[in-house]
């Protein structure tokens, strides 16, 4: 479904991604790990359509369509979901209004009728239950005054609402205590199906105890330097990244 070839991206002439190759198929879970500054977050925000980075080379296609040509909103409507490492607080935009607009813009894109208020609220109730999000969080402004854990849960709630084909979870575990981590991971697992794929970006292995990956990739200095099964995550947890750094020092 997602095919990344030789992807290069830079910011202010500093090259951060230096030739990423990655193929993801429906039903798969991929973990991307790597030391700080290796380009993990850059990769995910480039795929999501951030205009901060400039793609200088390579391609990314999503079900055959050129992803890099699409504005961020069309990537979302095509079924790509990006869970932010630092979700943005938007005072004055209510969660309900935000989600209703988002869901209905998806439906419009797919030539479906927009949900009525009551249909929408019903959907929201179901999904809230699914991801165990506190019901009064959705009565507030988007992420405003949410704790770190609440923000991450809110990302998963949005994912549940939008039912993407591929979800890229950027350091969803950072700053979460073990209980919140379990809730977030459970939400992700419940949403998993044969038709959708998940990319988990993380620094630590712990999240992968809960969201078990089919593949683990190590990103270092803007390239995927190693790919293996889930056992690689355990190895990294045990040995750290130094042995990889040594091996792939330029």
């Amino acid at each position: 479904m997602l095919e990344i070839k030789n992807l290069h991206a830079k910011i202010d002439d500093k090259e951060i991604l230096r030739g990423i190759n990655l193929t993801i198929k429906p039903g798969e879970v991929h973990a991307i790990m790597g030391p700080n500054g290796s380009g993990k977050s850059t990769l995910s925000s480039v795929l999501a359509g951030s205009e901060v980075f400039e793609v200088s080379e390579g391609s990314a296609t999503f079900y055959g369509k050129d992803l890099l040509e699409m504005p961020a909103e069309d990537r979302a409507r095509e079924g790509l979901f990006y869970s932010f490492q630092y979700p943005v607080e938007i005072p004055g935009v209510s969660m309900v209004n935000f989600m209703r607009t988002a869901v209905n813009e998806h439906r419009k894109y797919n030539n479906e009728k927009p949900y009525s208020a009551s249909e929408f609220l019903k959907l929201m109730r179901e999904k809230k239950k699914l991801v165990e999000i506190d019901s009064n969080l959705t009565n507030r402004s988007v992420n405003e005054g949410f704790s770190g854990g609440e923000k991450k849960k809110n990302e998963i709630f949005q994912m549940a609402m939008l039912q993407p084909k591929i979800s890229i979870l950027d350091e969803t575990d950072s700053g979460l205590d073990i209980d919140a981590l379990r809730i977030v991971a459970n939400g992700v697992n419940k949403l998993k199906s044969e038709d959708n794929a998940t990319v988990v970006i993380t620094h630590y292995q712990r999240l992968l105890d809960y969201i078990v990956p089919d593949y683990v990739h190590v990103l270092y200095k803007g390239r995927i330097v190693m790919s293996a099964g889930k056992e690689l995550a355990l190895e990294l947890e045990e040995k750290g990244y130094d042995w990889i750094k040594k091996q792939f020092e330029d």
């Binding site: 999501a48 504005p71 909103e73 932010f84 004055g92 935009v93 988002a102 894109y109």
Partner: protein, 465 residues
């Protein structure tokens, strides 16, 4: 010809207009109103129309607006049409007591609701000046600062009519009072509406003034509202402007507060040509509370200037100011707010904030918060920001499938939200929420309220909502 020469000529036009019409001006108003005119025109003559050298008008040059020729209506030709047939206010379905002004004149066919509590007086400023001279003697022109602003003095010189509201001691008017002022003429036209509000001890009232234009003429409106708010009284004044861009609207509000009184003013400028709002609040007793708010949304070449002066004359008072502006295209805006804490005013709490959102590189905002503190035990703050739409928020919304335009609207509304929520009459707040969202969507229902929209306005050089 020198520029100074031109200035003098403009002012002389108004002075001779005054002299030629003094007889007419006094026909319908009482002595109490008539007696103030000469002093008003003298101050105007002395100070002239404010130019950029006048500190308080630094960012709004009104000389071009005053140079034009306008017709006046000092004899008040009766407006014959049935108003309800030509006009529906956008703020409809509001459970309110509604009266109309036409070109600043109190509409004589107004049906004042019988639901008004006993003792409440509401109606024409001119008529009440004659029937209740005692109230006018006590309050008229006592709070307006003629000497500080020559345009206020000019209003005092020409003042004839407007609305008058008197709430006796202990009376609460629960429904909002909606005052709709309609500008309609067959030629370019100017008006000097003058309003007076008196709330006696422990009285309560909330007024919503809606300003509209109904014909495609150039309008110059120079209005003054004075309000006396006695002990323990509560007063709200919401002013909603929705005028086409050939309009120049100068609105000055002067509020005098006594002990434990509580006031709120809110200037919502949704569409205009050139607007200048002045709000003067004088907290002349202890434990007064005042909230002074404003929101303007401007595009094309509109200009909005909000000026406020909060006078903490006595101890233990609280004031809170919040003005927000959204500027698109080549719109320009200005804010100047002064908080004066007098030597006597210990334990003052005074807070002021002005935030502005520029949507283009060509929109421009000048903001000037000012604090002058002569007491030593006070808590005061002021701040101003001018910024753009937040890129991170924009990306967040778009990453959820919300298109760029829709995301922009959501964020603009989010910016305005804080100040809209300050409206403390729930029904009014609901209405304004809707109106502001419509403005951001460019969908504010025009055709009911605006004569221009049915026509092809594009070629004529004016716009409306």
């Amino acid at each position: 010809m020198s520029i100074a020469g031109t200035d003098i000529k403009t002012e002389e036009k108004y002075i001779s207009l005054f002299k030629d019409n003094l007889g007419h001006l006094n026909v319908i108003t009482s002595e109490e109103v008539a007696n103030e005119r000469e002093a008003g025109i003298r101050i105007f003559e002395e100070k002239g129309i404010p130019n950029r050298k006048v500190e308080n008008y630094k960012y709004t040059n009104l000389n071009p607006q005053f140079e034009r020729d306008y017709a006046c209506d000092f004899e008040h030709e009766v407006f014959n049409q049935n108003l309800s047939e030509v006009f529906n206010c956008n703020v409809e379905d509001l459970d309110a007591i509604t009266v109309y002004l036409i070109n600043g004149w109190y509409y004589r066919k107004n049906q004042v609701s019988e639901s008004l509590p006993k003792g409440v007086l509401m109606g024409s400023f001119a008529e009440f000046s004659k029937s209740h001279p005692d109230i006018f003697k006590a309050h008229y022109n006592k709070y307006a600062k003629n000497e500080e602003d020559s345009l206020v003095a000019l209003n005092t010189a020409f003042a004839q009519d407007g609305f008058f509201l008197y709430i006796p001691k202990g009376v609460v008017v629960e429904k909002p009072i909606q005052i709709v002022n309609i500008m309609k003429s067959s030629e370019d036209f100017m008006a000097f509406p003058r309003n007076l509000v008196v709330l006696e001890e422990n009285a309560q009232a909330k007024i919503m003034v809606c300003e509209h234009t109904l014909s495609d003429n150039k309008f110059l409106v120079n209005g003054v509202t004075e309000a006396y708010i006695d002990k323990n009284a509560v007063f709200d004044l919401y002013s909603i402007q929705n005028q086409h861009n050939l309009t120049t609207n100068i609105s000055s509000v002067f509020i005098k507060q006594k002990q434990n009184s509580n006031i709120l003013t809110h200037n919502l400028t949704l569409h205009t040509g050139v607007t200048r709002n002045n709000v003067y609040v004088h907290m002349d007793d202890e434990h007064c509370e005042s909230k002074v708010y404003g929101l303007f949304v401007s595009d094309k070449s509109q200009h909005v200037d909000n000026f406020s002066f909060i006078d903490h004359a006595k101890p233990n008072c609280y004031s809170e100011e919040l003005f927000k502006g959204v500027l698109d295209d080549t719109a320009t805006g200005a804010f100047a707010g002064k908080i004066m804490v007098r030597p006597d005013a210990q334990k003052t709490n005074a807070f002021q904030k002005n935030d502005n959102l520029l949507l283009t590189d060509t929109a421009k905002m000048n903001t000037k918060p000012m604090l002058e503190i002569y007491a030593d035990d006070v808590k005061c703050s002021h701040g101003a920001t001018v910024g753009q739409l937040d890129e991170k928020s924009m990306f967040y919304l778009r990453s959820r499938g919300i298109g760029k335009d829709e995301a922009r609207i959501l964020l603009m509304y989010a910016f305005a939200y804080e100040v809209v929520e300050k409206i403390r009459v729930e029904a009014v707040r609901e209405q304004i929420r809707g109106l502001v969202e419509q403005v951001f969507r460019g969908e504010l229902n025009k055709c009911n309220s605006c004569a221009l929209c049915g026509q092809d306005a594009s070629g004529k050089g004016y716009t409306c909502m």
